[in-house]
Symmetry: C2
Subunit: 156 residues, 2 copies
């Protein structure tokens, strides 16, 4: 798969480790273009109509926030050597994300569990939180991902 | 917010109701373009590299599948009168979604609960499953959404 030097394998995850990933600037243009495709409700695509909504202005779609979380975790040179994401639990949309928000991702590793049946892999669980520039948590969830162990070098 | 005739209000949700929403055709082009922006791992963006991956071919990003679920629920003339999505629970990626899949959404209403403190709204929970053309479940989750009651007509 290339770039293996930048992979984080099962051995690289430690329970209770914390990692903060740089801010993601959320623009009005991106909020609208994401929502026009996936969730075209007025609060996400129409700045004028959004002013009279429950949130008083344009807010990002929930699916957009979840995509930003994935982007921060996986669209980097150093990324988990995932086989796949098994699931997400306790996904909570806590505060709306608005145009101009600078969003940081906090990852807290909850659990690292080598597979009993397959020696090349294991399960990692992380608590992931997206936080805006005011320190408010916007989205929180726990992921459960299947991660490869570091391949052996082949020399005994 | 316009088009109120097509809104599904709290009164329109019934526990145990089931609704199936038409198939969504997942193309290779869309899998790649979504993932290039949000989750550019080889299994999502590189058909050749994907052949040697765990899944044996290109698969859709999890965030893409979640966006498809939102699209099927909210990008329709008749959509829930949501104030917002509070959360998702038990999100499970069960089978990979591949190019050419025709994905149906099954919504099963689990609970309808009027708010005790705010008479204009209530909470609805649904079990949502995306199912491919072979009847295999790809993604399952439970949503918890805040939904408006039908506005009173103003005539007593």
């Amino acid at each position: 798969m290339g770039n293996d030097l930048h992979m984080r394998y099962l051995e690289d995850f430690k329970p209770a480790e914390r990692e903060t990933i740089d801010g993601y600037l959320l623009t009005e243009e991106e909020i609208i273009s994401f929502a026009q495709k996936w969730d075209p409700q007025p609060m996400h695509i129409d700045p004028e109509a959004a002013k009279t909504s429950h949130f008083g202005g344009l807010i990002a779609a929930g699916a957009h926030l979840m995509a930003i979380g994935v982007h921060q975790l996986y669209a980097r040179p150093t990324r988990p050597a995932v086989i796949g994401v098994m699931g997400l639990d306790h996904v909570r949309f806590l505060e709306p994300a608005r145009p101009g928000d600078l969003i940081a991702l906090l990852r807290e590793c909850i659990e690292v569990r080598p597979s009993r049946s397959k020696p090349d892999r294991g399960v990692v669980r992380n608590r992931v939180t997206l936080i805006n520039q005011h320190g408010k948590s916007l989205l929180r969830y726990e992921d459960t991902i299947l991660v490869l162990r570091r391949p052996s070098t082949g020399t005994p």
